[in-house]
Symmetry: C2
């Protein structure tokens, strides 16, 4: 950016508008916009983002002509207000606030009440008639200014944080309160505050070695410089790294006249939303407080009044006058502004206003945050109202927000007063209540009786799936977002909290200790899996059925019409498949057959197979499994009603089916009538250094073709049984086309056999394809496509191999990487587009170069994550597959991806 003598550094609010966000920042542009709409905005001006660059270029100084322009702009403000900055009789007070292109809430600095000094205090007292108000404002100025301008912006870093100026000042305040036995800050009298201000100034001198400036212009320019400086503050840098905001954007600074809502009964302050942010109801919604400052509304010390009758909360503020009742004229004016803002921004706005001595001032407008329910309803309402078009309506809902519509939730009101027991990682959204049960076997038993249960374990393993399935919620003391518990729970849409280190679980005593309390097995607890909080007792649960929500149904209808990607589900059980179909899944993208192996007597058979010393023994054990597998597939095909099912053949290493603890091994030895030593020996011989890279996937099917044969028979016979079945047999962990040819031949041989066994019967549609989950598979996709009739990206494993990163072992450094900004997102959550993504793109291109109509999907966890879905759309996949509860999310995300094409 070239700086020359004619550079315009400063824009009054009247000069700005919403199109100037890059130059004026979001706040400044919106203040300008409101000004243009003719709303009463406290006068002020914006110093541009370009000034920030110039400020850093000249080593932290404002350009001389910028200072000149500030002085000129202040003159305009003084004129508009008819009052002067620093005037002893009736001075203006100013605020200095940051305002970047993108909101960076709480990351940069603000200084309020600028202009208060020895010379102006008496005048303000006279004007306001409120000495306490003035000294309180002065105290706040000293605190903010010394902290922000004199300490932080000056680059003073104290090793002991307690020695910094702000805590030192707070100590003085605490002392005076203690002395006078006050409880609240508001108990302090004007006299107390006056004394405190003198103490503050002395302490600032003591700590920082400099006087607090008693000159309004010094305060103002110091404040402006400090806000610019705060762009390079530690918090801001960290935030930008995470959010990907470029350093060179810089912030603008807004200098604005202070208005006060706490100057008496004709003053007030409030916040409002142009529609109800909790439900989406198109009523004006908000709260206000008479004789108060903005922060009092949010602080929760006083119960705020309702804006109008609609907003009154029974038992809370329904006896307090609404703004509509107390100040009907002002309310009417505000409603006018509300309508104008919605019409102008075509979105729900979150506004702040202050009434100073009977005059309404608009302080801020911005797009209002809303919950999922409200987002869906507002989008559809605004579409109906003709305010926005379909495309805009679709883009208005964050796909993740649909979670709220799909899972039962704890009643938010009840949560506020409930007894919090512990906090962990929010691994499975929604709410659940149930009795604590500490063993999966017991959960399985009690679950049959229909009891509400929460399975509480230190961690879970594949052996726990029966119990996990029986429980309403799963709570573990260890593990991360990709632990076994988290993965399984997400797959089932089950409420789940993991890594809840606060819990001390004693399996022997059958107790759980948390927050100083001891709970016994059978005690009730409640979980909020969306936030990761555990409560004592039974909280009320709010159930939601999206099918009864007309706005949701309409949104999904538009989404389905818009999207180009198919959406399938990952489902291992018939009930999951049925649920996913209800949620709009167009088939199964991943049916993992191994989960079936843990149920009931099947685990005995699979272990028999593992222990068998000869092929004949393995074939015998597999024959026991065949009827179970076939029945599972029959039920799955029935649930799908003709939709396709991609069935992955056995994938995990065999040692996952053998218990590793002596207890489990003893049990297994008993159940199977062999010696413990034999079990131990087998477990040891199956041990692997890097099981992720070991004897698993098609490597099992190649070394033990009888496993593939049994699975092929189960799938094909089931497909024969259920008319219209479409089976897609997926061979896992292929890295070399010859592996696929080998397994394909085994399957085709069985298919031929079955055909021969059923002459005259129409054979079902069977396709054979592979997971692309090894880098080598992606690299040689052209060769693999010679044999594969479809691809499905297994992005969990593909990420592990491509990045050389074990999901289970990354906990020691991945958080550090995220914090340092080496990674911007967890690659197991969102596809690493630059690495794994490039491989995927290459594989799609190469695969289709061999077989132009190759069907390609994704079945890794990423298939339900919106940014990854967008990526899959752009590289031309045919479908994504995700857990049943994420199917609607994927449908919406796919639609949004399709919109981003045009």
């Amino acid at each position: 950016m070239a700086i020359n003598s004619s550079t315009k550094w400063v824009y009054t609010f009247e000069e700005g508008n919403a199109g100037m966000v890059n130059l004026l920042g979001g706040k400044g542009a919106n203040l300008g916009e409101m000004s243009s709409l003719g709303m009463p905005v406290p006068p002020g001006f914006t110093i541009t983002t370009e000034t920030n660059a110039a400020f850093f270029d000249s080593g932290g100084k404002l350009p001389d002509d910028a200072i000149e322009q500030v002085r000129q702009a202040m003159k305009d403000v003084e004129e508009a207000m008819g009052r002067n900055f620093g005037d002893p009789d009736d001075p203006l007070l100013m605020s200095v606030r940051s305002g970047a292109r993108k909101s960076m809430p709480g990351m940069m600095e603000t200084v309020l009440n600028i202009g208060l000094c020895t010379a102006t205090i008496p005048g303000i007292i006279k004007q306001s008639g409120n000495e306490r108000f003035v000294y309180d404002a002065y105290r706040r100025l000293i605190t903010m200014y010394s902290d922000v301008v004199m300490e932080k912006a000056a680059g003073i870093e104290l090793e002991d944080e307690e020695m910094a100026v702000r805590p030192q000042l707070e100590k003085l305040m605490d002392a005076i309160k203690e002395e006078n036995d006050y409880e609240l800050d508001t108990d302090l009298t004007a006299q107390d505050l006056k004394i405190l201000c003198e103490q503050y100034k002395a302490k600032v001198k003591e700590v920082l070695g400099k006087e607090f400036p008693d000159d309004p212009w010094t305060q103002l320019l110091g404040g402006v410089g400090a806000v610019f400086q705060s762009w390079r503050g530690r918090r801001a840098i960290a935030y930008r790294r995470v959010e990907g905001i470029p350093e060179e954007w810089g912030t603008a600074v807004n200098v604005q006249v202070m208005v006060f809502g706490n100057l008496g009964e004709d003053s007030a302050t409030g916040v409002a939303f142009t529609r109800d942010p909790a439900t989406g109801d198109p009523h004006f919604y908000g709260e206000w407080l008479v004789n108060a400052q903005g922060e009092d509304v949010v602080a929760g010390i006083r119960t705020p009044n309702a804006l109008n009758n609609y907003c009154k909360q029974p038992g809370q503020n329904d006896t307090l006058p609404s703004l509509e009742e107390a100040m009907p004229e002002i309310y009417k004016q505000l409603v006018g502004f509300r309508d104008a803002l919605e019409a102008h921004y075509k979105n729900m706005q979150d506004i702040e206003f202050t009434i100073e001595r009977g005059l309404l001032w608009m302080l801020q407008t911005r797009v209002g945050k809303r919950n999922g329910m409200a987002a869906v309803r507002m989008a559809m309402d605004m579409l109906d109202e003709g305010m926005i078009d379909e495309k805009t309506a679709l883009m208005r809902v964050d796909p993740e927000q649909l979670n709220e519509l799909l899972h039962p939730m704890l009643d938010p009101a009840a949560e506020k007063t409930a007894k919090k027991l512990a906090k962990g990682l929010a691994a499975g959204p929604g709410g659940a209540i149930g009795k604590i049960v500490l063993s999966s076997a017991r959960a399985h038993e009690l679950g049959k009786k229909g009891e509400n249960l929460i399975l509480v374990r230190i961690e879970t393993s594949p052996e726990d799936v029966d119990g996990m399935h029986a429980a309403k919620g799963i709570l573990t003391a260890r593990g991360g977002m990709t632990s076994h518990a988290a993965l399984v729970a997400r797959g089932w849409g089950k409420c789940c909290i993991v890594g809840c280190g606060d819990l001390e679980i004693d399996y022997k005593e059958r107790t759980v200790r948390a927050a100083g309390k001891t709970l016994n097995e059978g005690d009730w607890i409640s979980m909020n899996g969306t936030k990761g909080v555990v409560y004592k007792g039974q909280l009320p649960v709010v159930d939601t059925d999206p099918d009864t929500n007309k706005w949701y149904k309409k949104l999904m209808e538009i989404a389905d019409r818009t999207r180009k990607l198919g959406v399938r589900t990952n489902a291992d059980r018939p009930e999951d498949a049925a649920l996913a179909v209800k949620y709009g899944a167009e088939g199964i993208g991943l049916c993992r057959t191994e989960h079936m192996f843990f149920e009931g007597s099947r685990i005995i058979s699979i272990r028999k197979m593992i222990l068998a010393k000869k092929k004949s023994g393995r074939i015998e054990a597999l024959a026991e499994l065949l009827p179970f597998q076939r029945q599972d597939f029959i039920e799955i095909f029935q649930a799908l009603e003709g939709r396709p099912a991609t069935i992955r053949f056995l994938d995990p290493p065999l040692h996952e089916f053998v218990p590793h603890d002596e207890g489990g091994q003893k049990e297994m030895a008993r159940a199977m009538d062999v010696t413990l030593a034999e079990i131990k020996e087998k477990a040891e011989s199956l041990h692997e250094f890097n099981p992720m890279l070991g004897h698993r996937g098609c490597r099992l099917g190649i070394t033990y073709p009888e496993i593939t044969e049994m699975q092929a028979r189960a799938v094909i016979e089931a497909a024969y049984t259920v008319e219209g079945s479409k089976a897609e047999i997926m061979i896992p962990l292929v890295g070399n086309v010859k592996e696929l040819s080998n397994q394909k031949q085994v399957v085709m041989d069985i298919f031929q056999q079955i055909k021969a066994e059923r002459p005259g019967q129409e054979p079902p549609e069977i396709k054979i394809g592979t997971m692309i989950e090894l880098p080598r598979a992606a690299i040689t996709a052209d060769c693999i496509a010679e044999e594969a009739e479809f691809f499905s990206f297994g992005t969990n494993d593909l990420t592990q191999a491509t990045l050389g990163l074990s999901r289970d072992d990354s906990g020691k450094f991945l958080p550090v990487y995220l914090e340092m900004g080496i990674l911007s997102r967890d690659p197991f959550e969102a596809i690493d587009q630059d690495g794994v993504g490039r491989l995927m793109e290459y594989a799609v291109r190469k695969g289709r170069s061999t077989r132009p109509d190759l069907k390609i999907g994704i079945c890794g966890e990423h298939g339900g994550e919106p940014s990854s879905i967008r990526f899959c759309h752009h590289i031309g996949l045919d479908y994504v597959s995700c857990s049943p509860f994420r199917v609607p999310i994927a449908r919406l995300a796919a639609a949004q991806a399709a919109l981003s094409d045009s």
Copy 2:
């Protein structure tokens, strides 16, 4: 191939030549060639490889016109010999042999003595005057024919192999020998053999249900069909899969008149090499036996006579007459043929000849196998003789053969008579003798006294390196070609045998049991690491110093002049670096710093660092390591004399430095004065599910920057100390350019500090680069090259990640894959060019798109493997790096790669 009535299926030897290998096979073409050179080849003809295809196309039948052409060709043969096939008075006998394009030794079938039947036997007896000879030939015909033609080619497969016809016939022979108390087959009389032939024919009928054919033409056509059929025999298919020979090539069949060297004292048979295959000496070299068949020469029952004085072996056959002495005219004729063949083929030939009743017949000529020493000498001699050019001379030596010139060897003569104890995998070439030592600590101790030791362990771990270094050879009961022992040994050029399952090692009793013997610690054993054989006692060792071999030196001089690839070495110690320089290394391509951490007191310091709870504790422990590391690097830089050294920073996960067994942990607790519980807890907290994909490489340096700081300081200070040092600091396991930026900054900060500490001193040349060992690094090579000043492919890890294949865990399925032909080579041995190779090629292209002068090398094990070196040359790497002992191999392979360009 189109078949039409004019297809020529049969070529007489006179019609063939060496250019017709594809049609006539190698054997047929060479017989043709010798015929053309005017040498006496027993007349015959070749049935083409095309006939084989036609044979299979028509379901295993010869085309009618092919049979017609065979009959015609037989007429020509009869005419040439003046004898007739099936003539009762003076019949011709014929052989039928396979002959594919590429030699497939022992993989296909042969039938000899065809034409012997009731009608012709009396005539042959009369002609030969040797009834015993005739019945012995008849017995052989029945055995071969019934096995090859009547059983195998007919597709008869018996479940019990003992029930097959050949073992049944052998039982009859054993019975007659037992009955007569004979020891050798040669003890059987003519009468015995005559009886045996009758028994044989009856048994054939009994086992196969068919009569042995008594008609010469049935025998001949049956034999031809059976040889064609054997192309699809199980052994042949398996061999082709491994060797990558296409199924469609097919074999030719050679039908040739039998000549006999066992028809009396004027008959003889022999094999000869045109030069000495053991030394390369340009003397005619060979053996012969009077009145014998070809198989007698190789069977070793009779000691063969020498061809000439040069070949006489003292104490063996120096008293027997040489062919030159016994049949000077024939010898002279043979020498003429020798000269003609060498002049014609311009290579050393391996020939077979037979003298039948004073007439010399040339049966075969082919390029002779030779050992490494001989290969080098022959190539250089022939170059000097003007027989071949430099390019041909370079290509004549298989780079792997140089191994023989670089390692001491057990005396081959002594090995013949030594007591074999066990056989394992040949993991480190050469020979070694020493006393058994069963613990590394003891080996380390005894090694200081200069004792010759063989370290014998069940397996080795990084804690054993001191002991391994002290030993002359390493022998383990477990582990494969890529086990720890094998890797370390190869790196040091140490004799090593692994996976020697025959050994029972008892650490407690300090004994080793093998081959029914119990050896104690301290007993002498000898190892042939090239073959994987262990002997009892001290065998003589033959030392070789390539520097004294003028042919080797000349070869290397030509190689260095020809190659374009640089050759560096992987060396962790100064002595290895010095050795590699002596072998021609141009620098270090990989210096692994972690091996240094195991020596002496260093392991204590590294463990202190691991146990430290705070950064300050780690810094303290690292400070103890600094002087050691610096000194190591000083010595390495000194050994390199200004050549560059690529130094890889700490790579393995920290748990590799903590003992996993309780004994070791106790010892560690004692040494470090902490509780065992503390050690155990640490070991557990460091445990990883997939260490290969865990907290290692730069992930360590990023989470513990103090480690990188210490290593940077050690390298840079050492480089300052040794003038002219060139240090290339290599950051391991980078997958994301930001990881490299981070570590580069840490190193650069230290470099700045050191520069500041040494004002006025010229700073050394420091480059910072990275390993490309993760697929993501290859995929994002363009980004990584922004920061990296060089790349080095870590193909071991790159292979593991790309293929999703743990080297340590692949033992359960990799052998199956190789056997089934899913893989043609172990990807840890030779670069997987279609997978890993494509990634490498991509990374080279992308890396150089960012930084055109990017220096790129390879430091994985593949850097010393000829086919991988050729690949590295073709994708444009700057250098390969391998263990010191493989440096000459790499130099030659690189030269051969360069030749393959033109």
